[in-house]
């Protein structure tokens, strides 16, 4: 398998805080990868490391097989990057923006650029700063797609867009995927968008990649388990796969990454009156998973925190 993006031990400090910790990311060619995490988890920093906007303190990253630190202009032209918030030179018109950007790329597709601009009915003579957020996103999409990139790196591309523009943006992403061998890495907080277009997801928690698996697999693996007791519930013990556990009167509310017969048998030892499994949608699964560890030892001394289990794999099928 070839990887469009590969990092080995990628680490970045801001002051003495590691915002990206020993990241090993492998994104296969042709994959749409949803990059998730809460605010401050390290998504944007990772993306800036990948695009060479900032430099890593340790580790390395390769894009399309070439080291980011020494990326040639030829390879750089095969990669498109849309930064968060769609920053563009506000004083340029679309015509000027195209004239400025085109010379950087050997394969600038004028026809495609025109088609996207016309599709969104954007005026070419208007200065970029006078466009709305949604329109700026559309301009930056046109600029990103015109060079016919093999790899797209998008930092929260649909942030702040209205529902219709967002759907347009997703449709464009689907069109890109339908062309063989195109790879997309995009970060997002919109789990609905992610489930539609991403076949794999990665979840960053405090700079560490905790989840890296097919999107469906994550949704199927993360489960909320409610355990009822006849009287006040005992403290939550450590259990394999347990992400978070909360005592709530007579019940435990447990979030598992991977729940099966062995966990059920362990729960039975505590003589509960009922055990209920609740399936979660992607958004609830993500919330349960990322909010997890803080709550786990809320009432205990935080002496031996178990790291949240890492869900890595190719999943069933």
């Amino acid at each position: 398998m070839t990887y469009a993006i590969e990092t080995r031990g990628l680490t970045k400090y801001y002051g003495n805080k590691a915002v990206v910790r020993s990241l090993d990311l492998k994104i296969p060619t042709g994959c749409v990868y949803g990059f998730l995490g809460r605010n401050g988890a390290g998504k944007s920093t990772t993306i800036k490391l990948l695009t060479g906007m900032i430099h890593a303190d340790h580790g390395e990253a390769t894009l399309l097989g070439e080291n980011v630190a020494t990326l040639s202009n030829v390879t750089r032209a095969r990669v498109a990057y849309i930064a968060e918030g769609h920053p563009l030179y506000g004083w340029m018109t679309i015509n000027q923006l195209e004239q400025f950007t085109r010379p950087f790329y050997p394969h600038w597709n004028r026809e495609l650029f025109d088609r996207i601009i016309d599709h969104f009915e954007l005026s070419r003579k208007q200065k970029v700063r006078r466009f709305s957020n949604g329109q700026r996103a559309q301009v930056s999409l046109a600029v990103a797609l015109a060079p016919d990139p093999e790899l797209l790196i998008l930092d929260d591309p649909t942030l702040g867009l209205d529902t219709v523009v967002r759907r347009d943006f997703l449709e464009s992403m689907i069109q890109i995927i339908q062309r063989e061998g195109r790879t997309i890495l995009f970060s997002s907080h919109n789990l609905g968008d992610v489930e539609r277009v991403a076949e794999r997801i990665g979840v960053l928690v405090d700079g560490v990649l905790r989840v890296d698996c097919p999107t469906d697999h994550f949704k199927e693996m993360v489960k909320l388990v409610i355990v009822e007791f006849a009287s006040q519930a005992p403290p939550v013990p450590e259990l394999p796969g347990l992400v978070s556990g909360q005592v709530n009167g007579r019940r435990w509310e447990l979030v598992f990454a991977g729940y099966g017969e062995s966990q059920a048998a362990l729960l039975q030892q505590h003589k509960p009156t009922a055990i209920d499994q609740v399936e979660l949608n992607l958004e609830d699964a993500f919330i349960a998973y990322t909010r997890g560890r803080r709550r786990l030892f809320a009432n205990d001394p935080p002496a031996a925190p178990t790291p949240a289990p890492v869900l890595v794999g190719n999943g069933p099928g």
């Binding site: 339908q178 539609r196 999107t215 992607l282």
Partner: protein, 128 residues
Amino acid sequence: MEFAVNTSDREPIYRQLAEQVRAAIARGQLTAGDRLPSVRELSRTLVVNPNTIARTYTDLEREGVLHTRPGLGVFVAAPGSELTRPVRKKRLVERIDGLLTEAVHLAFTRDETRELIEDRMTQFQWKT
């Protein structure tokens, strides 16, 4: 038939779509030999990753619900063609037991349940 995707559903998208195909066949909206939209078409109209659609089709093909004719497309297969009768029967009995368990817990009588089932049966296309 019309497909719909609900991302706040607990079921993964590939299973939602598979269930919709099964339901459409059971209700006679799709019949054996009907062609389904291609992976590309459906991916575009639903705005869903093409691999997800492909997974739905592959799963349904494995179950014998659909079959692919190379170069021509994906078609609805003749009902029950792939599985042996005992296997089909076992699968149905499991589902019936689930349904009856629910009926008992919801405090329906035997006759009420039978009547409701008879009533719902008229909504479906049956093999003659």
